[in-house]
């Protein structure tokens, strides 16, 4: 290829304080850059991202008539947008900017005793960036319109809050919930810490609001089947699982006047099938046609088709409402949305796998959500806490913190802190001491993490109420085969003595993990997971609601353990972020599209099937069959460009001449 002798490149080497300058010789790198062909200007500066640093770029463009800019600094993830804007403001097309990452990929990994090698590598990186910059071309970002609708996946408190915010901002919002009704984990809780508000009492108004908001389309018993498209234009296919019961709207659509489920419950009364109630963790019976609790939203009964014997008694009981259809099948629909919020929440780890604590082996060892149901007035015991073994009221209850959290042994255990167990266990201790006279609570802990507003004061209050705090992790739990009492073995590390506590009931504050199905779901939206398995935010501090997929945001525990206040706060943040592109009405896509060079294209069409985004098609142009790219669909992955046997596909910003120039610059050392 012909050398681009016209190019005039400016090179700027950033010290980043001592982040870069502490590990390599930035001045030597800048001096070296001056010796490279086509480099018209080179300098180093303390902080290139600062206003004076950016001004340096603008001034150098004016003074030296630069055609390309290279900044050797941090990762493009961090400051490429900053320097692109500086380039643009200097009067050069922003895509004539190239970044050499000499921080994350150099100085930070060569901190100790590799000064000379790091400097040499930085020179290589700058030389390669300059080589590419010579061949950079003017590109124009593509603007696409944004659909004025959003989707929230997950109908717990996070998803409800995000939906309410989006809907109240005037945006049509689809709230997709895979369960029968919304409310999520919070609807299973009895009280909330540290205020001791009734969980259902503060959640129910939000559930009701979400159910009747004119801008919210509540899609319970729906799951995301398939996702296509990109920010502004996601086409999401939903599976509407067969509920077996029609809403009044669905009934009206079928011409049944005044029909559909009105929540009367006549069907449940006649249903002969009794199965364990999953909402109550199997501690209560449930009919094959059911609702989970009295305040469900939407108030529509559901048929458990795995349990239903199709006897038809419920259909008779329903009468003229004709709400029940035992032959209902799953249906699919596709909706178009501009942005998406994932709020899929958590589940417990299978704590029975930590065998030393005996869950599922000892009758009186339960986990904390089971405790919530047993202490809840609407739970299976009407709020009377009982021992599963004999129904007796416990007089001593142990709470095992960090049950599978902060545990590096692998398997089902989690290395992270599950973050809300300390606080809810304090609340549980309060509840038993309040409800059962003379009942003693023992909390086995390593550290009490009461970090939130009014949390430490809550800890003080519970200690003052008589809760015994044993500073030691529980080693194992044995069951007395006759009394079914439990022997909890731990060291009281503050006494320095091993101890054997004989208790009536033990509650495991089990670690939490993403819900089953979180992984396939996030993959459909192109969202990554962090090493701990939770969904990965775009930046842990500065972009905690965003993801690396534009237009997809996160709220609540699906991004990492959070209590209710943090979940609601993140939900409001995610709703705000998700509403921005919708309110702006259009988004700019980076123009890294594949381009077909028609004169080279043989029209073989082999690229069409390779494209993972269905962005390519064959078309007739000037009497020839050639490939055509739908730019809005193209993500610039390069699959087609790498494959094309005729070399007819050009990847903008990553063209063959640009990449070859970089490789040559590296291999030939600038010769």
């Amino acid at each position: 290829m012909a050398e681009n002798t016209e190019a005039k490149i400016g090179v700027f080497v950033c010290h980043c304080g001592t982040n870069i300058a502490g590990s390599l010789d930035v001045k030597a790198v800048a001096e070296y850059a001056k010796t490279l062909p086509n480099v018209a200007f080179a300098a180093d500066y303390q902080y290139m991202c600062s206003t004076p640093g950016q001004n340096m770029i603008k001034e150098a463009i004016a003074e030296h008539k630069l055609t390309g800019i290279v900044v050797a600094a941090c990762s493009p993830r961090l400051h490429e947008p900053t320097f692109r804007i500086a380039t643009k403001e200097g009067g050069v097309n922003m895509f004539r900017f190239e970044m050499a990452n000499i921080r994350e990929q150099n100085s930070w990994v060569h901190m100790h005793g590799m000064h000379d090698e790091a400097t040499a590598k930085a020179k290589d990186q700058v030389r390669m960036a300059v080589a590419k910059a010579k061949y950079l071309e003017d590109l124009v970002p593509k603007s696409v319109p944004v659909e004025k609708a959003a989707m929230v996946v997950g109908g717990g408190v996070g998803g409800i809050q995000a939906s309410l915010d989006l809907a109240s901002a005037g945006i049509k919002t689809y709230l997709v919930e895979k369960a029968e009704s919304i409310g999520g984990r919070m609807s299973q809780l009895d009280k909330t810490f540290p205020t001791l508000d009734c969980s259902q009492c503060i959640l129910a108004p939000k559930m009701v609001d979400a159910g009747r908001h004119p801008n919210i389309e509540l899609l319970s018993l729906h799951e995301v089947e398939n996702v296509e498209g990109y920010i502004g234009n996601f086409d999401v296919t939903l599976r509407k699982k067969a509920r077996g019961v029609m809403t009044p709207v669905e009934a009206a659509a079928k011409g049944i006047v005044g029909g559909g489920c009105n929540g009367c419950g006549d069907c449940t009364a006649v249903c002969p099938v009794v199965k364990p109630n999953a909402f109550e963790f199997g501690m209560a019976p449930r009919k094959a046609i059911y609702i989970n609790h009295p305040q469900v939203v939407p108030l529509i009964y559901t048929v458990d088709f795995n349990a239903c014997v199709k006897c038809g008694l419920c259909v008779e009981a329903c009468g003229t409402k004709k709400a029940i259809d035992l032959d209902m099948v799953d249906e699919f629909r596709t909706v178009k949305v501009g942005t998406v919020i994932l709020a899929t929440g958590y589940d417990y780890i299978p704590i029975e796998e930590k065998k030393e604590w005996g869950y599922k082996r000892h009758e009186n060892v339960i986990h904390s959500l089971e405790f919530e149901r047993l202490i809840c007035a609407s739970g299976p015991t009407g709020g009377h806490l009982v021992r599963p073994s004999d129904g007796a009221t416990p007089k001593s209850v142990g709470f095992v913190l960090c049950a599978g959290s902060r545990d590096n042994t692998g398997g089902v255990a989690k290395a992270y802190c599950s973050r809300f167990c300390c606080m809810y266990s304090l609340k549980h201790a309060h509840q038993i001491m309040e409800k059962i006279e003379g009942c003693t609570a023992y909390i086995f802990y390593m550290d009490i993490r009461s970090f939130g507003k009014a949390y430490e004061e809550f800890y003080y209050r519970i200690q003052n109420e008589g809760c015994k705090f044993i500073r030691g992790r529980v080693a194992n739990i044995l069951e007395d085969p006759e009394t079914k009492n439990l022997h909890v073995f731990a060291e009281d590390t503050l006494l320095g003595r091993p101890a054997d506590f004989e208790l009536d009931l033990v509650v495991l504050a089990a670690a939490i993990q993403p819900i089953e199905g979180a992984n396939p779901l996030r993959k459909k939206f192109g969202v990554s997971a962090s090493a701990d398995g939770w969904m990965l935010e775009a930046h842990p501090k500065l972009n905690p609601c965003g993801t690396t997929t534009a237009g997809v945001f996160l709220a609540g525990v699906c991004q990492g353990p959070k209590d209710i206040p943090d979940t609601v706060a993140q939900a409001e943040g995610a709703a705000s972020a998700a509403s921005i592109p919708i309110h702006v009405g259009q988004v700019e896509l980076e123009p890294y599209f594949a381009q077909c060079m028609d004169e080279l294209c043989a029209g073989c069409g082999m690229c069409v099937n390779l494209c993972p985004y269905s962005a390519l098609a064959l078309t007739e142009k000037n009497g020839r069959t050639v490939m055509q790219v739908t730019e809005a669909k193209c993500k610039g992955c390069g699959t087609c460009g790498g494959f094309c046997p005729g070399g007819a596909i050009k990847m903008q910003h990553f063209t063959t001449p640009q990449i070859v120039a970089q490789i040559d610059a590296y291999l030939m050392g600038g010769q």
């Binding site: 590096n408 042994t409 030691g472 992790r473 080693a475 073995f489 060291e491 590390t493 091993p498």
Partner: protein
């Protein structure tokens, strides 16, 4: 600070400064323990699962968590001169349950090795060395055992060095290679 003297050795000892001082820590000890034990002994967060699991702890003053702490702080002398160091039965319950995936049992074994290098070993352990050297067994067979084995239809002696005493030489060669018998004899003699 100059130590106060009451001209009474007992009282002086009782009233001596018992605070921990950084100077008492030997960082090399921590490194040696990690290297010898091949476990991440520096990662202990003192939860007490080890002591809570320990069959020795309820019936003795042995607290394995305390030895883990001494390792983290590099309290070499305190760890190696504590007779409790030798009360571990090596059942490995603590290793099974440690949430930090440390092997506390191996930390104890490492400390015993380091103690042995300083000739700090209880007499009964040294006698065990002599028994192994002479019979190939730490607990050699005896008449009660022999009778029991016969009742169970087994040979009076197990198919070990008891049945094949000609192999004792091989065991002695291994022990001699590490100077174990020689050192045990020397320490017992020096007492």
């Amino acid at each position: 600070m100059a130590a106060k003297s009451y001209d009474n050795p007992e009282l002086n000892k009782k009233l001596a400064d018992q605070r921990y001082h950084i100077s008492q820590s030997n960082p090399q000890f921590t490194k040696d323990v990690i290297k010898t034990s091949r476990t991440i002994a520096n990662m202990c967060y003192q939860c007490g699962t080890c002591t809570g699991s320990c069959p020795s702890a309820p019936r003795s003053t042995y607290r394995i968590r305390l030895f883990m702490r001494r390792n983290v702080l590099g309290l070499e002398n305190e760890a190696l001169t504590d007779p409790d160091l030798w009360l571990c039965t090596t059942c490995y319950s603590c290793t099974d349950r440690c949430p930090r995936d440390i092997a506390p049992t191996d930390v104890i074994m490492a400390m015993r090795n380091l103690a042995f290098k300083k000739d700090i070993v209880p007499r009964n352990f040294l006698q065990t060395v002599q028994l192994i050297y002479n019979s190939g067994h730490g607990v050699p067979n005896n008449d009660v055992n022999r009778a029991a084995r016969k009742r169970l239809g087994l040979t009076a002696d197990p198919p070990t060095t008891h049945m094949y005493p000609e192999y004792i030489k091989g065991i002695q060669k291994i022990l001699d290679h590490f100077g174990l018998k020689e050192n045990a004899d020397r320490i017992i003699k020096g007492e």
